[in-house]
Every structure is written in C-alpha cells, then in structure tokens.
C-alpha cells in the first residue's frame, strides 16, 4: 500500500466510455489496478473493455454495487465539477480528477465542500498517482517506474514521468508518485503529501517537483524545514519563463511579484533541500 492507494484500492472511473477513459482504464487494468466499474449517466447496464468492466449510471449506484472507495474522473471540462461533488457525496474517500480546464471559482467551491466532507482530492488537471507494482490511477505510464523507497510529488505530468524514468534508469524506485496537478486551486498540496511521506514507513527519501506560480513551494520549504526528517530533493521548472505569461498550466504564472523559480529555489535551498538544475540530475542527488 502506498500513501494513498494500493493493490486493494477499488477504483471506479467516471467518464469510462469516452475515448481517453477507455484507453487509460485499459492501461490501468493491464497494470493491475482494480478498475471495478465505470460511470456514464445514461449508459448504466453496459459493459466495456471486453466485458471486464460494468458501467453504471451514477457513482452512488457504482459504489453500492462494487464497493469502490476511489474514483478517477476523466470527463469533459464542463462535467467535471459535478463529477467531483457526486463522487464526494457517494461516499468515495479519494477522488483523482484528471480533467483539465476547470474554472478556478468552481474549484474554490468544490475544494471547500470536499474539505467539509473529509474527502481527499488529487488534481484536477493532474496525471494521477502511481504506487509502483501495485496500482496506477491516472495517466502515469506504469513501465516508467519500479517499486522503491522514494516518494515523488509533482505539479507536473510528463515532467514527473521524466523523473521516474531517470530514477529507474539508475535502478531507483518509487514508493508512491503523486501528480498533484497544475491548477492554482486544487486538492492535495505539496505540504499534505510531504506530511504523508514523512509518516510513511515505506518512504525514505522524497523528490518534489515544482514550477513557477503561487507560493506552494515556499510554504513546502517552510514545512520541510520545520517538520521533515527525510531528505528532500527538488526541481523547479520555469527558470527561463517570462513574467506575466501563463505557461500552459493555469497555475504556472509569475505575477504580482510572486511565483518566480528563483524565489522558490532560494526558499528550498534555505530549508536544506538540494535543488537540481535539470530533471535528470535528480537520481544523482537522491542517490547520495
């Protein structure tokens, strides 16, 4: 069991009948993830992926029928807010929302509601999570990582695969890899995941991949300084990004004198974190 999910985690996929939903559900099944059901309103009763996965009309019906405790959301932008709230009200304890492009005012409301319900959210606009050798919930290509003792947490998607792959090339593996997503308001944040890694007996070291925008990395640095005993290695993307421009991710923007890579790197170094110059340098740092 990783910090958030393991081989017993029972996953329902909201939006399973879409093209991407089907593709990634199939990858997850191949990896060994327990995809126990899918949800697509109006298609309840159908089966997908060669009759392996039943489709339900609602998360509630799916949870009742399958005992799912985790939901992965891969629905269109306009349906995602409703999907997150539906999952929370259906008794799901961990929601992983991959969908991108959710308005920030919606996310502020959703996050407040999920906090109130005590439901954990990863994302949105995230690659999901991977517990190597056990389960993958999301996009992270399973064959890029091997089981190990390194906890990985990241605001980025493909940059995370890059790091996992670089670690794998030198024989290093991950305990859990969490892609928390690139939106300015989201579910689990660096601090939440760092806390879990600190408490996780299967994690000995942590890699934290940040990027420009906001002050999450600065707050994480403070947290590391005050609360972490395990070594943390970091990489911050966007040193060459111009200010005032949104670099793809809704949250990746230097504005109002806040959010530059230089500030973040400085804060992390002050907290005793080794900061790599490029992603492939991470294995070298963490191996020490």
């Amino acid at each position: 069991m990783g910090i958030l999910a393991g081989k017993n985690t029972r996953v329902v996929v909201q939006g399973i009948t879409g093209r991407e939903g089907l593709f990634h559900s199939e990858r997850m099944l191949e990896y060994g993830t327990q995809v126990v059901g899918g949800v697509r309103p109006g298609k309840g009763g159908e089966w997908v992926l060669d009759g392996k996965v039943p489709v339900f009309d609602s998360v509630k019906v799916a949870v009742d029928a399958t005992g799912a405790d985790c939901s992965m959301i891969i629905v269109p932008q306009s349906a995602a807010p409703d999907a997150m709230l539906e999952a929370a009200d259906a008794g799901i304890r961990l929601v992983v929302c991959l969908t991108e492009g959710i308005p920030i005012q919606d996310m502020m409301r959703i996050r407040a509601y999920l906090d109130f319900k005590g439901v954990q959210l990863i994302g949105p606009n995230c690659p999901g999570l991977l517990t190597p050798g056990e389960t993958k919930i999301g996009f992270i290509p399973g064959d890029n990582a091997i089981p190990g003792n390194i906890g990985v947490v990241s605001r980025s998607g493909t940059l995370t695969y890059e790091v996992l792959y670089a670690l794998k090339l030198v024989g290093l593996g991950a305990s859990t890899c969490v892609g928390i997503g690139g939106d300015p308001v989201k579910g689990l944040n660096f601090i939440d995941v760092l806390q879990m890694f600190e408490e996780d007996p299967l994690t000995d070291k942590v890699v934290m991949i940040g990027e420009i925008g906001g002050t999450d990395e600065e707050r994480a640095a403070e947290f590391i300084n005050q609360n972490m005993t395990k070594p943390v290695v970091s990489f911050i993307a966007g040193r060459s990004a111009p200010p005032g421009k949104r670099m793809g991710h809704a949250g990746a923007i230097v504005e109002g004198g806040e959010g530059s890579a230089a500030d973040k790197i400085e804060a992390l170094k002050q907290a005793g974190v080794q900061v790599a110059d490029h992603p492939e340098q991470i294995p070298e740092f963490i191996g020490k």
Binding site: R19, E20, R27, Q77, S78, L98, E100, G101, I102, P103, I104, Q105, D106, M108, R109, A112, Y113, P127, F139, I140, P141, N144, S154, S156, G157, T158, L159, Y161, E162, Y165, A166, G182, P184, V185, I209, E211, I212, G214, T215, D216, F235, A237, G238, R239, S240, A241, P242, K245, R246, M247, G248, H249, A250, G251, A252, G256, G257, H278, P279, E280
Partner: protein, 377 residues
C-alpha cells in the same frame, strides 16, 4: 483574458457601479462628437491592454470638443509598449477629492476570493503592498457563501472611509462582486474609485481579467478577446488547442506537458542555448495538432533548430510520430530537428520515425545539447 477598460466599466455599470458617462471612439471625429455631447472637459484614454498608459502619453485631458478631436487623433496613432491604439475612451473629466483602490481577485493560498481595498488608490497597488502594506485591507470571501455585508463593512472600517460614504461603497462592492462572480473573473478592479468633489463615488478606471478556463461558458466575453495583445501565432495556436508563447531565442520547442515544456526551455538555457518558444501540445495530441504546432514554431524566423521532447502518457508516441511525419511532409522544414520520444507507445513512434531524417536522443540532456549544437551549426 484581459478586458479593455471601457468593456470592464460597461460590465460594472450593469451591476450598478457608477461609472463616468463616456463612450468609446475609433476615430478622432467620433471622439470629438462624444466630447461635444458630454460638454465641458473630457479625458481621452487609449484602450490598450497594458499598464502605464498615462506615463506613455496615452491618457490626455481636453478642454473642449475640438481639443478632444486633436488629442484623440494623436493617441489613435500611437503604439504603447508595442500595441497599436485602435480605440479611445472619451470620459467626462471628474473633479477628484480622493482616490480609493478596490479589487477582487483569487487568493490561491487561501483558496478563496479576496476583496482588497486601500485608501491609497490611483497608484500601482503592488507598489503600495510593497512599501506600505498596512494600507492594504483584505477581506476573504468564503466561496460557498459569497460576499457578505460584513465583509464590506470590514473594508469600510479598515480604510477608514467616512461614514457618509458607507452606503455608496457598499453598493459598489456588491456590484463588483457580482461582476466578478457572474463573469468568472480572476480580477475585477476599480483603480481609482474616486470620491468626487460633490461627494459621489465613481469608478474612474476599470479592469477585468476573465478566467480562460471559464470562457467556454461565457461566449459573449470570449468574442471580445483583443488579438492585438498577443502574437498572431499565439492566436493560431489556440485554435488548435495548443498553448504557444513566443520567446526571443533560436531553438524551437515542441513538448507535451507544460511542466516538461518549461523544463525543456530551462535545460536549453542551461546548456547555452535560448528557447524560441514555449509550446505544449497538450494531452492526447493527434497528428493534425502536431503538424499545426510545427508550422507555428517554424513561422518564427529566429528558429535555427527544433527540439521535440515527447514523453508518452496520455499523449501516445505513435500518434505524435505520425503527426511529425505528416507535418514534415507539409512544412518541409529547413532547420535541423532533434527528437526525443519516451513513454506510452514510444517504441511504435520511434519505429515510425526511423524513415524521417532526424537527430535522435535518449535523454533530455542529450537532446538539449544536440539542439544547442545544431542551432549553432
């Protein structure tokens, strides 16, 4: 997406915020007519989406309609920070007693909207925040509740607003909140909110930024995008669902994923090159999208080499490879191309690409070094 001052103020007015009774003009003649109708002194304000219009000479006071036409003519011919002035707002000149700052934005860290006021209005609020932070009063708004009356009172108290102005300020805050909420703004700002000599509160300037992620449900706003404010290639990229930002370097980048795209730019710089752009082809990019991306990158004449860095996850390597082949066929690039392809369906992709003559790399560092070298050759 930024909205022009005159559009922001039109929106504010719909929510009951008092604004000057001016109008927008595209020609000096029009400007003169508006000034005549308004009577008295008017302010001619260039409508461009950059700060510092005043300092750049884009805001002028005219004594009468004739002078308004003359000044409008000069302003309409200007470029401010590279942006052409296509419209001017002709507002009646207001007799200002004092200036307040009032704005609503999203506090990322608090995950709540925050309404900000300051008695030190009229000047750059970030400057005020730096030099005299105690002059900035903030009230967080619970996103499930929305703005409450006591939030507004906290501001009135905090900026020590004279009590006779509380009711008017209250209505303006409520109007600004509704404008922010209904239009999915990430910023709704009045700076300055002036108290006139006659004791009236008026929104002299207005600024709104709309959440790009919410434009799908605000079609009318989406149509107001000012394409002058971005490079034409950025506009084209958006049509294809690509995020492209033009930079000044010589190495074009095509990467999947925003974080990896930034890291790719960073490593190019680390190894002595300069990125020509940020380009994220996004998740699940298909052949058509990749071809469009390549065309856009190559429209930049500074580009001396292109680096493809594709790490398959949601994006599948074979699809990207097909896109690259198709794009090569269409565009027939003259510059060297470096490619690195890893992850989901990467092997299939690499097999497909074997026929194209490209420089290949295993690692990101290797790819960056090869691209920098190729650009210099």
């Amino acid at each position: 997406m930024k909205l022009h001052e005159y559009i922001s103020k039109q929106i504010f007015a719909r929510y009951g915020v008092p604004v000057p009774q001016g109008k927008v003009a595209a020609t000096p003649k029009e400007a003169g007519k508006i000034a005549k109708k308004l009577g008295g002194r008017v302010v001619i304000k260039s409508q461009v989406l950059v700060g510092g219009r005043g300092k750049a000479g884009g805001v002028k006071l005219a004594k009468n309609a004739k002078e308004a036409e003359t000044l409008a003519k000069s302003i309409l011919g200007m470029e401010i920070k590279g942006l052409p002035v296509r419209k001017v707002l002709v507002d009646p000149a207001i007799d200002i007693a004092s200036e307040i700052y009032l704005g609503i934005t999203n506090d990322r860290a608090a995950r709540q909207p925050v309404i900000i006021a300051s008695a030190a209005g009229g000047i750059d609020i970030e400057e005020v925040a730096r030099t005299t932070p105690e002059k900035i009063i903030r009230a967080h708004v619970n996103p499930l509740l929305g703005l409450q009356d006591y939030n507004i009172r906290d501001l009135s108290i905090g900026i020590e607003l004279e009590r006779k102005h509380w009711p008017a300020f209250h209505e303006i805050c409520k109007g600004l909140w509704e404008a922010y909420r209904d239009n999915d703004a990430t910023l709704a700002e009045i700076n300055p909110l002036v108290i006139s000599g006659a004791g009236e509160l008026i929104a002299l300037d207005g600024k709104m930024i709309i959440d790009d992620n919410a434009l799908y449900r605000h079609e009318q706003l989406a149509e107001l995008r000012d394409l002058d404010a971005e490079a034409p290639t950025e506009t084209e990229a958006r049509k294809y669902g690509l995020t492209y930002i033009k930079l000044d370097g010589e190495i074009g980048c095509m990467v999947n994923g925003a974080g990896l795209a930034m890291a790719t730019m960073d490593i190019i710089k680390l190894f002595g090159g300069q990125p020509a752009n940020f380009l994220d082809i996004g998740g699940g990019a298909d052949a058509e999208k990749v071809a469009a991306a390549l065309r856009i990158i190559l429209q930049d004449k500074n580009v001396k080499a292109v680096l493809f860095n594709i790490f398959g996850g949601i994006t599948r390597g074979d699809e990207v490879a097909r896109g690259i082949l198709e794009a090569m066929n269409q565009v027939k690039p003259k510059v060297p191309m470096v490619i690195r392809l890893v992850g989901t369906n990467a092997e299939e992709g690499r097999a497909l690409l074997a026929e194209a003559k490209m420089i290949t790399a295993e690692t990101l560092a290797e790819a960056a070094k090869k691209a920098v070298a190729a650009a210099k050759s």
